[in-house]
Structures are given as C-alpha cells and as structure tokens.
C-alpha cells in the first residue's frame, strides 16, 4: 500500500475529510452532451464565502482540494481562490476544459504550486470533440492548454469519457495524448443529471464495448489481474464500505451545499447556514452514509463480486436506494470478469429471462 493510501485509511479511521471537491461554479463555456449539470448561476458563493469555507476546510485538516465546475475559469476570481488555497497549504488539483488557459494562466498555476490539472478531451478530431462540447474551436484551445501547462512543468492529465459518440476515436485520442507526454484517463461512466434526469444515459456505450477497455493494458495495466475472477468474500469484506464518500471525502457545490460525493446527490447541509465541521460530523445523512457496510447491502452482500466491485453508492442512490446495487458497476464487474452479478441474476429471474451467460470459462488446471 502506498504512503498516500495509508494516510487515506488513517483519515477514514479518524473521521477526517482528507479530500474535498468544490465546484466553484456551474457556469460553463461548453455544453457537453454528457454533462450532468445545469449551467445557470443560481447564486454561487462569493469570493469571501469561498475563502471562509477554505479556512474551515483547512481547520478540518482537509489535505487534497479539487476545484472543478462548470468551468472554473468562468469565475474572474478563480486564480485568487487558488492563491488563497495554496496559502492555506492545500494540495490543489484542478479540473477544467482548458479553453481559457493561455501561457499567463499556466505560468501562474505553476507559480502557485498547483499539484495537477485535469483537462477534458473527447476526441483527437475537432469535428467529434467540438460537436460534443458544442463549442467550435474547443479541441484546439484545450490541446493548446495542455501544451502551455506541460511547458510550465505542471502535471497534466487528459480525461476522456467513453461514449457511443466518441468510442471509435478512443485509440487515436490516447495516442495523441501520449504524444503530448501527459497522463491519460478514460472513464466509461456517464452519470444521470443532478436533478435525476437520466436521458444522458443513452450516451453510455453498450456493455460489450466495455470489454474493449478492460482488455487494453494501456488503460488498465495488467489485464490478467484487472480481469481476474472475484476474490473470496470474507468477514473483512463484509465489514468494509464501498468507497471514501462521506468517510474521508465529500463534495461542495457552488451554492454551499455539502454532499458525500459529486456523484452522490444526497443533501447533508449547507455551509451558508452551518459550519462545515458540524455538517461533516453531525449531519444525519452523512452519518447514515458512513454507517453502511457491505453486510448491510441486501443484494450486493450476496454477490460474488462483493470484494472487488467498484460499486458506487451515489449511483445506487440515483437508482433509488443507496443500499442497493449500482447497475453500471454490475455491468463493469460482469464485463471485467465474465461472471454475472447477483443483481443481474436477480433481475433476470424476476423478468423470467435467461441469466446473462458467463463470458469466461475458468477451468481447473489438469496435470
């Protein structure tokens, strides 16, 4: 286990929110097909409100701070906020489309000691990327931003979302990113909108296409290990929890509302009315989230994938039950290992259809 992972476990044990993600605005200069946000400004926090919040987060021992949006540079005070956060010695990471980052901004981010900048790129072809963002010229600007940031010595990651509309460009996009000399991250997860609207889910690739991703060593590392059969489910697994949401991390939106995660729209309080630590420590909703262990999940606790599943409690919540399965993660487990999840088998039985076939036959070695 890495030193940073050890610190994450320690934070969970101590109940410290070691990692916080703040969306400083929902406004954006792009209108991406898959975006889960509404972009109208409904009264985002002022500069002073965010600085006060950062003071509280520093006092709560938050270490990793992610600024995201919307597009962070839509706020004229954004670099002032980054400077303030760095004075408070946060490890600052940014998520941006990069369209407004030029040499001057890149240099300033480097001077301020920003740890990492993640830029969204959906294709190597402008006709595909710009069609997804609905901003002509956006691919060119985003790639220029990558180069400006890289030239400053900043750590840059390009994040791509794997969807039906750009699936065919994945390999070429990855190659372009490799040429740029920066990290590449591909996420096949398209999430419902924060208001529950799930129409964007139509953009998700078919499950079969996930196998292309899971069998690519450039994306998953050791394919054999990544796609290995599920590990045994023991007492330690039953006593564990799904992820760090609400345990060592949380999300705060531009209006001061606090959630367990950006992908978990369960309101737990608002920093405009309460102190952050009051919400973190005493919110009934936050405490309910952190009380849930694998053994408390009625379906997932019976699943062969319980030990290795990427089950997202936020996606489960959006499906109607934070203790229920997350269908997208069931599919990932299935197409990763070839073994259907308990949820998939249960659904097939309820519908009177044949269960999903095992995709991989694991045969005992004969001597």
């Amino acid at each position: 286990m890495s030193l940073q992972a050890e610190m994450g476990e320690k934070a969970t044990r101590l109940g410290i929110p070691i990692s916080v993600h703040i969306d400083v605005t929902y406004r954006c200069n792009e209108r991406c097909d898959h975006c889960y946000l509404e972009h109208d400004d409904k009264g985002e926090m002022t500069t002073q409100e965010i600085k006060d919040l950062l003071d509280q987060l520093a006092a709560a021992n938050v270490f990793y701070l992610t600024f995201s949006g919307g597009e962070v540079f839509m706020r004229r005070d954004f670099l002032e906020l980054v400077e303030y956060a760095r004075q408070l010695q946060f490890n600052v990471q940014l998520k941006t489309n990069g369209v407004m980052i030029r040499q001057r901004e890149a240099q300033r981010l480097r001077e301020l000691g920003v740890e990492q900048v993640q830029i969204s790129v959906y294709s190597h072809r402008p006709e595909v990327h710009d069609a997804i963002t609905r901003l002509p010229g956006s691919l060119k600007r985003s790639l220029e931003a990558v180069r400006f940031l890289k030239s400053q010595g900043l750590r840059v990651t390009v994040a791509n979302v794997y969807m039906k509309v750009n699936r065919q460009d994945q390999a070429a996009t990855q190659a372009l990113v490799r040429e740029l000399g920066v990290e590449y991250k591909l996420d096949p997860t398209v999430t419902p909108m924060m208001d529950g609207n799930s129409s964007v889910l139509a953009l998700r690739v078919d499950g079969e296409r996930l196998r292309d991703v899971f069998s690519d060593p450039r994306l998953v590392g050791n394919v054999g290990e990544f796609c290995a059969p599920p590990q045994a489910v023991d007492d330690d697994v039953m006593e564990s929890h799904s992820c760090s949401a609400g345990h060592a991390s949380c999300y705060i939106n531009p209006y001061g509302e606090v959630y367990p995660c950006v992908q978990f729209p369960l309101p737990t309080g608002n920093v405009r009315r309460q102190k952050f630590l009051d919400i973190w420590q005493h919110s009934p909703q936050m405490n309910e989230v952190r009380s849930i262990k694998v053994k408390d999940l009625p379906v997932c606790s019976t699943c062969t994938h319980a030990a290795g599943c990427s089950r997202c409690p936020g996606l489960a919540y959006m499906e109607g039950n934070m203790r229920g399965p997350s269908t997208a993660d069931c599919e990932k487990s299935y197409y990763r290992t070839g073994i259907p999840s308990a949820n998939m088998l249960r659904k097939a039985a309820a519908a009177g259809t044949a269960p999903p076939p095992r995709l991989v036959q694991i045969l005992p070695m004969t001597v």
């Binding site: 320690k10 101590l14 070691i18 021992n61 004075q87 010695q89 946060f90 490890n91 600052v92 000691g113």
Partner: protein
C-alpha cells in the same frame, strides 16, 4: 559554532493527520509523513528559532531522547527535507512572511 535556522517552504501542501504531518512537495510531488518527533521540529520551524533551541526545548523535553542523539537525528532530518526543498536552512534567521510564489 554557527546556529542553524530552519523555515518551512511555502511550495508544499501540508496537514497534521492525528499528530503525524503529511507533506507533499509542490515542486516534485514527493510525499512525506513525519513521525511525532519530526512533526515537532517541523512545526517549530519558524525561521527564527535556532535548531539547537528547538531540539533542547521541544524535542528533549517532550521525548525521552539523549540531547546528542536528538541533535544528530534533527540535523539528519533537516538535511533530508532541505534536499527536497521542503525545509529552508540558513545560518541566519529567515523571514516568516515569504510569499507563496517563492522561486522553485
């Protein structure tokens, strides 16, 4: 013998996690955790207090350690962190109000 003064760099991210400092260099992303003794030295590194005084007044008084051993350990610790730009070392007092944009 000349005194040694130490000050925390501003090119870092740092937090105290249950009595253990975790520090990441903003220059090369090296990640450190400090044990309780090193944490005391780190927190006392205000640029104004000589290292010898930090060792005698804070380390030796809070931990059961021989002064000479404590001095050697402290000097080694300070040397290691300064090599990563995490601590600044000088033979004269350092300003405590260095800007966040100090040269890498």
């Amino acid at each position: 013998m000349a005194e040694t003064y130490i000050a925390r760099s501003t090119k870092i991210a740092a937090r105290n996690l249950g009595g253990e400092m975790m520090i990441m260099s903003a220059v090369d992303s090296t990640f450190f955790t400090l044990n309780p003794v090193a944490t005391v030295i780190w927190q006392a590194a205000d640029g104004k207090t000589p290292l010898s005084q930090i060792v005698s007044e804070q380390v030796c008084s809070e931990f059961e350690v021989e002064p000479e051993q404590a001095r050697r350990d402290a000097e080694e610790f300070v040397s290691q962190l300064s090599q990563h730009g995490i601590l600044l070392i000088s033979d004269h007092p350092l300003s405590s109000d260095r800007p966040a944009t100090e040269a890498p």
